[in-house]
């Protein structure tokens, strides 16, 4: 909301610099986004002038050369382009040195050879109107040439741009902000502008009938007054200037009054042309299903049964609290005005505005829940202005259906509670003073104060905690000590799982992988590129773009995206990982499953090339497997891989494996990305990656390793070369060896692989195994090991394996 200080100061004028005032408001709960300047600057150069002479410019038909008395010994010569300039007019003059609203500084000028010592001003040049219709002619009315213009017109003001929080609809009006300034600065507050109401209560005879037929809670109050002999015309400059500074365009006096009163009181008003109300009867009712209204913006709106409208004998004229209709608007020939000021149910206005996709200045105010009292306050201010500015005659009486809101609430504010919630006492007198400044009534009670909430804070302040906030924001916060909780028995630590997650990331960075943070959002087209379009994904109703319409089901997409981006920017290897959730829709309509997933991807050489090794190997399946092993071994998660019978669709079918935990529990995949899939990311070489459901795997981590003796007795090592068929996997060979060698065989691994049809036979492979034996109670001898070795050889024989000599 825009708060022109010139306007605010009518009600509360602290002797403070604007920035200091803004800071004071911010520190007491009224956030000032920024301070703006509205109007002109270098004000000493703006004065009242009187046109002594207005003659033709010798060389320009449209220009006049004027002599203007600006209170100095010799009048100024000013060239003026306005057609309406005439001798004898009282005008606004800018002298050289004046700074205009757009920041330009006025100098002496020569216009078609004639010197001009300043400018006769139009209203838009002073930013008190938007229309440029010739110079502004002031009413003479006691004005003397040379008087400072700022004493006559509000030509410049600072404007506070205030962010009003949703709980404070009372601050949606200038007077509401004045109350806050008063409370924050202790500057006296003038009585509210509605304290004198020229109107009267009672029926309005014969002119109009109003019926409220909707449920009372949807329309707690509906008021109307009727004005006759209304003379439509422009508003006076002071009012236009205030509207402009507050961000509203002046239109005509009646419409301007409704806007002005709304900006001042927070309460929207609506002016009907009384003679255009068909049947002289307004009915407030809920809409019939599908009922249509043509709103002021020319659109036809279709309503539903919860929406409230105002109808006359010819049907709906406006959508209550949201927007008026075209049919009964005030027009230039209007002479009788019905001023409607009503109170509506905020939630219902919000719903209506949402459903219709129609937001207005009125609806954004009503939906924050205004109070019924505000309706008559606005009527009082508007009535005075209608009489003063439109020459209107008020028809006695006020239609008032619903009346004021519920009786004010009284809440006990306990001294002890203030202290225990804030952690510092605020003494009772202080609280009383603060609450009094905020117009809360207080009475002494045994353990505190009984506080009565003013009507304009009825929705916001309903509990003791709300009162504590009021005293704290105006006083306690700045003086609050900084203490720490006493933490009865609380003790902070990461859970085992959280520690494992951290160690996982550390294990991956230690292996040279950079962590990335990808988007949870993906394009639906991603799953097609990854050939997993058949897998269900969580879809968004209102994504920011089609690129972000789904949630990811794999981390591979973001890894590929980031890899491509970095390669395009000149990187030649990328080694990346991401750790985070993927989102798997639940079958039963519940919230999706969000398993914490870790994935890694590597492209390019396994280590940087150098002069010693200009072409290091390219990272492939086994490089990725090494990273996976480095990760899982670090965390002491026993793991294995097996060839995938039905590989992930995005993987090279011959280079794809399932990651297994606990022997047979599949927790992820490992492999090289299918070249055609990689090509969709413009990736030509080998792309090796893995992805693992981390929390599922982490369950198998050995959290507390137990001591194993490896130092008391030495191990016995030997190597074996065995020739097996290609179809026998290394894992199978090792598993057979381990089983046969138990318990003395401590360790077995493949350290060489050899293929040569001549020497090991077609379709065969020779695996070189390194075996080590150890006993926990003695040093092993050849006699101990020999039978174990025989068992191993026999078991290999059953696999079709044959020792190589």
């Amino acid at each position: 909301m825009r708060v022109p200080l010139e306007w605010l100061y009518e009600y509360c004028r602290p002797d403070l610099d604007t920035q200091v005032l803004a800071e004071g408001l911010a520190m007491t709960g009224t956030e000032v986004e920024r301070v703006e300047r509205h109007g002109v600057d270098a004000l000493e150069n703006f004065v009242v002038g009187r046109v002594i002479e207005a003659g033709r410019h010798p060389d320009a038909d449209r220009l006049s050369v004027c002599l203007v008395d600006i209170g100095t010994d010799t009048p100024s010569q000013i060239v003026c382009g306005a057609p309406n300039v005439e001798q004898g007019q009282t005008v606004a003059v800018a002298k050289p040195g004046a700074v205009m609203g757009d920041g330009t500084k006025l100098g002496k000028a020569r216009l078609r050879g004639v010197e001009s010592d300043g400018m006769i001003l139009a209203a838009d040049e002073l930013e008190i109107d938007t229309e440029h219709v010739g110079i502004m002619v002031l009413e003479e009315n006691g004005l003397r040439p040379g008087m400072p213009l700022q004493e006559v017109l509000p030509i410049a003001t600072d404007v506070l741009v205030v962010e009003v929080t949703p709980n404070r609809p009372d601050c949606l009006g200038i007077y509401g902000i004045a109350r806050e300034v008063h409370a924050a600065t202790q500057t006296p507050l003038q009585p509210p502008p509605w304290s004198q109401d020229p109107g009267s209560e009672g029926e309005i005879e014969d002119r109009i009938t109003i019926a409220v037929e909707c449920p009372r809670e949807l329309c707690p109050r509906f008021t109307a007054r009727v004005f006759e002999d209304v003379k439509l015309g422009p508003s006076p400059p002071w009012l236009k200037a205030r509207l402009m500074a507050a961000g509203q365009r002046p239109i005509s006096n009646v419409v301007d009054i409704t806007n002005y009163v709304m900006l001042l009181t927070g309460q929207p008003l609506h002016a009907f042309d009384c003679d255009r109300i068909a049947g002289a009867r307004l009915t407030v009712r809920t809409a019939r299903p599908g009922e249509q209204v043509q709103t002021l913006d020319g659109q036809t709106r279709t309503l539903d049964e919860q929406m409230v409208l105002i109808a006359d004998a010819d049907g709906p004229t406006s959508i209550a609290g949201v927007m008026g209709g075209a049919r009964s608007e005030v027009e230039p020939d209007t002479t009788r005005v019905l001023l409607e000021v009503a109170n509506w149910d905020g939630a219902n206005i919000h719903r209506t505005s949402l459903r219709l996709g129609l937001r207005s200045e009125a609806s954004t105010r009503f939906e924050k829940q205004l109070q019924p009292e505000q309706a008559l306050e606005a009527q009082a201010v508007a009535t005075r202005l209608m009489i003063e500015l439109c020459g209107a005659r008020l028809v006695p009486g006020t239609i008032d259906i619903g009346g004021p809101g519920p009786a004010p609430r009284t809440i006990r504010l306990r001294d002890a509670r203030v202290n225990s919630l804030l952690g510092a006492p605020i003494d009772r007198e202080r609280s009383q003073r603060i609450l009094g400044a905020l117009e809360f009534a207080t009475a002494q009670a045994q353990d505190g104060l009984d506080v009565t909430v003013p009507s304009f804070r009825r929705a916001d302040v309903t509990r003791e905690a709300d009162l504590i906030e009021e005293v704290a924001r105006l006083d306690g916060l700045q003086r609050l000590p900084a203490t720490l909780p006493s933490r009865h028995g609380a003790c902070g630590r990461l859970t085992d799982k959280q520690q494992l997650r951290r160690r996982a990331a550390d294990a991956l960075t230690a292996q040279g992988l950079h962590e990335i943070v990808g988007w949870s959002f993906v394009a639906p087209e991603l799953s097609e590129r990854l050939r997993i379009a058949d897998r269900p994904a969580v879809e968004l109703e209102n994504p920011m773009s089609a690129e972000q319409a789904q949630l990811r089901t794999t981390l591979l997409g973001s890894l590929l995206d980031v890899a491509r981006r970095n390669l395009a920017r000149g990187a030649d290897t990328v080694r990346l990982f991401e750790a985070g959730a993927v989102y798997l829709p639940s079958a039963d309509g519940g919230l999706p499953d969000e398993p914490y997933t870790v994935a890694a991807l590597t492209i390019g050489s396994v280590r940087p090339p150098s002069w010693r090794d200009p072409q290091p190997r390219v990272a492939d399946f086994f490089a990725a497997k090494g990273v996976l092993g480095g990760l899982l071994d670090t965390l002491r998660i026993p793991w294995s891989v097996e060839s995938q019978t039905t590989p992930e669709p995005f993987l090279h079918p011959g280079r794809a494996a399932a990651i297994l935990i606990d022997g047979d529990r599949k927790v992820g995949w490992l492999g090289e990305v299918h070249p055609q899939v990689a090509a969709r990311w413009d990736l030509r070489g080998t792309v090796a990656a893995f992805e693992i459901d981390f929390d599922a795997a982490a369950g198998a981590a050995i959290a507390t390793p137990l001591y194993e003796d490896v130092t008391s007795f030495p191990e016995v090592r030997e190597d074996l070369a065995v020739i097996v068929g290609e179809q026998v996997s290394a894992a199978r060979v090792l598993s057979v060896v381990r089983e046969a060698g138990a318990p003395l065989l401590e360790h077995a691994e493949v350290f060489d692989v050899y293929r040569d049809p001549e020497r090991v036979g077609e379709g065969n492979v020779s695996l070189a195994l390194r075996l080590s034996y150890r006993a926990s109670d003695r040093t092993l001898t050849d006699e101990d090991v020999a039978p174990v070795r025989e068992r191993i050889v026999a078991a290999l024989g059953e696999l079709g394996g044959e020792l190589r000599g």
Binding site: G423, E469, A482, T483, P485, V517, L591
Partner: protein
Amino acid sequence: MIERIEQIKNGAQAAIDAAADTQALEEARIRFLGRKAELPNLLRNVAQLPPDERAAGGKAANQARQALEQAIERKQQELAAAELEQRLAQDRIDVTLPADPLPAIGRLHLMTQTRREIEDVFIGLGFNVAEGPEVESVYYNFDALNHAPTHPARLTSDTFYVKPLGDIFDPDTHLLRVHTSPMQVRAMERQPPPIYIIVPGRVYRPDSDATHTPQFHQIEGLAVDTDITLADLKGTLLAFARAIFGEQREVRLRPHFFPFTEPSVEVDVSCFNCTDGIAADGQRCPLCKGTAWIEILGAGMVDPNVFEYVREHGYDPEQVQGFAFGMGIERIAMLKHGVPDLRLFYDNDVRLLEQFG
């Protein structure tokens, strides 16, 4: 006999001394101590000496052989060391050539690094770390956090909703959480007071510019006990601000409004880039825009209405009270490390990743 032995010994010693390299030494060894040499032969033939010469001759020959062996050994070491030095001196490398590269270590993302830093501060202050779902229900994201039906954050312009979308006011409707706050209620449902948790995690809002991305990360804090005060919130956040931004920091609380706290505050930390808003170069500080304070988070005392939603789990608002806060991880990282644009966090340029973590 003795004389002869002395002669041989002197001759051999001279040859040993004269040997210029290990090969010459080896030749000398063969000549004087080899199988066919005179001295070993003398020793072998001691038995054939006349008995009165046998003892003295044998002893002298043996001593001579031992002396020569020792001399050769000494000379051998001398020569070998000299030859090694010579070889090494010739084995000269260009020490200025590049090193053998080890695989470079990787880096944690700045977001993770910052998240851990913040987590560790609060763990030290007695908080545990809890995590909750990112796809949430309207109930936990709005209703149980005391958001009025008219609260603007509920609109589809401010919140991502999940398909199929029925009514955005239905408590069971699914959305992407707009803050980590839903976990306040979930945590209180799971655990009676006292509770001290922080909740790091991803959150989502439809917004995109230099300081907003549709996805970002927050850390929520919640402390509920019988006697938690607003002053405790201030002290806790002061400890946090000093740990993250430096020991000289101060914090101040500014009144604000959040539906789920009362009183609500915004928390500013004193600017660490300037003195009273004036930067080192004498210009207005660009970080705090000359205000000397930087807003870092929103906080407040848990609203009694929130406790009403978990009253049956031990949270009677007359018996317990607590504070809650929520901060953006990226915002903290941007302030601390001078990152100018939030979108850079999701660009994942390796050259940027390498700078942190």
